[in-house]
Amino acid sequence: MNIVVLVKQVPDTESPRKLKSDDSTLDRAAADGVINELDEYAIEEGLRIKEAQGGEVTVLSMGPDKATESIRKALAMGADKAVHVIDDALAGSDALQTSYAIAQALGRTGFDLVVLGSESTDARTGVLAAMLAERLGVPQLSLANKVEIDGSAIKVQRQTDYGFDKVEASLPAVVSVVEKINEPRYPSFKGIMAAKKKPVETLGVADAGIDASQVGLANAATEVVDFAEAPPRAQGQIVTDEGDGGAKIAEFLASKKFV
């Protein structure tokens, strides 16, 4: 089975995340880059499916040079090879354009199954799986907390507010996973060493069949008008409990008409 796992390098949540003042895009230099957390669950799920079904796991990532770090991590976890879509023309692409570029790249890699995290911790749009399914004309099996494959039949549990939906479809398909679907493995030393020798193919926009006039900041369907640091919240009242802390909160809540 040809399993393609999508991986995104994001700014570390723990480091200062900023937008650049000139073009309002993410300031990637200001923050340490890490692999998007939910992508680790996607890699793990891809590896488990490969282990059960046979086949190959390809990591597909779009992003600047630094994305190599996240690609290496995915390879160290056990993916077989990687495709890195890298081109200055892609910088500043919004969700709609990103889905176009990745769909084109998937046309080059081919796939039976695309696995990705349900959202990234930086943009948090949560739209990519849906957009890809729409563009590729394959089933959208998103927000999965359980995946079962039997031949070309695929069943997932889709997490919902009320519980979950049982969803059935046929491969090829796009699956997005939620946290807790599995326990992602840590790369072993052997895995880390092996990752250095695994093939990473780099594709520019032309190589990936991406029309450069459809991507990048200037051609985006959305634009950031302005941004500013959020005003700090007014300093609240902080009281050390002297045996009446609960009563004091109740008074505060009453003063705000919550009780």
Partner: protein, 316 residues
């Protein structure tokens, strides 16, 4: 004024509060036209009328709710083509955003996800990077598709007499590619939905174990609140993951958020920072959650929280 389509969130005819918020927002920037998908409209029509749905497109065919997301996007795309609305509003729930995503591809339109307000010119306000930055963005191409965070807008009653129009859409094979064979409802009791609740009480690492979450639930129930949990608590298996508030869980924006035994790491703050009033109970005076609070108690949650519950119950 042009129509603004509002996709109505409902569960079997019971309208979610966010739908009323979207109707209010739509009427600020145009004329709200509700889009109803699936059975149950008859039970909901009075409520939609009360909150200003001057028009309702009713697509009652149950088939539209039998497949994952795609049929709703197909219906909206057809309405966008036929009615040329000024914008489409959906709720910024996981599913709402997915519908927005597919609709954006179908119509070649830009999409704004998780806005907390919409200003003149359909400029969306976003609270990003864990609430640290307020950004404004707009759609340049196509029909603006805007996903709005629940609890961001106060719904206002604005009685209307809706003009109803039955609509249907023929689904393609692609729209029917992911079939929902069963909807499994997990017991959540009488508590409100986490993302819709006016009050949320969350427990974290300090709660110390699954058995102690009864303290959180007791406090929540005294306030008619939803229960949430920090990642530390869900990772430890003390509370189900679906109740996790934070960057990799739910984003909530209630009137009142009470954090109990939660230190307030950025991962958690990303999910609750736009709450209107924040209260915390934590034994560590240095906990970052206290930077956010309107009122905080430094103390032992096992003393403070039960006392608070008792005081609230006394005042009823």
């Amino acid at each position: 004024m042009a129509e603004i389509l509002v996709l109505v969130d409902h569960v079997d005819g019971e309208v979610k509060k966010v739908a009323l918020e979207l109707l209010t927002l739509a009427n600020r920037h145009g004329e709200a036209a509700a889009v109803w998908v699936g059975p149950g409209y008859e039970n909901a029509k009075d409520r939609l009328a009360e909150y200003g749905a001057g028009k309702v497109y009713v697509a009652a065919d149950e088939e539209l709710t039998s497949y994952v997301v795609a049929p709703k996007a197909a219906l909206l795309a057809q309405l966008v083509a036929e009615k040329s609305p000024a914008a489409v509003l959906v709720s910024a729930t996981a599913e709402g955003k997915e519908i927005a995503g597919r609709l954006a591809v179908k119509t070649g339109s830009g999409v704004l996800t998780d806005v907390v307000d919409v200003a003149d010119g359909l400029v969306g306000e976003h609270s990003i990077f864990g609430g640290g930055i307020i950004a404004h963005a707009k759609v340049k191409t196509g029909t603006p598709i805007i996903a709005v965070r629940p609890n961001s807008i106060a719904p206002e009653a604005a009685p209307a007499t809706p003009a109803e129009e039955q609509v249907s859409v023929s689904l393609s094979d692609n729209d029917k590619a992911a079939k929902i064979v069963e909807k499994v409802v997990q017991e959540k009791g009488e508590r409100p939905d986490l993302t819709e609740a006016a009050i949320v009480v969350s427990g974290g690492r300090g709660v110390g174990g699954a058995e102690n979450f009864s303290i959180i639930e007791g406090l929540a129930d005294s306030l008619g609140a939803a229960v949430g949990a920090s990642r530390a608590a869900t990772d430890a298996g003390w509370y189900p993951h679906s109740f996790q508030v934070g960057q990799t869980g739910k984003t909530v924006s209630p009137q009142l958020y009470i954090a109990v035994g939660i230190s307030g790491a950025i991962q958690h703050r990303a999910g609750m920072q736009t709450s209107k009033t924040i209260v915390a109970i934590n034994k560590d005076p240095e906990a970052p959650i206290f930077e956010l609070v309107d009122y905080g108690i430094v103390g032992d949650l096992f003393q403070v929280a039960p006392q608070l519950t008792e005081e609230i119950n006394k005042r009823k």
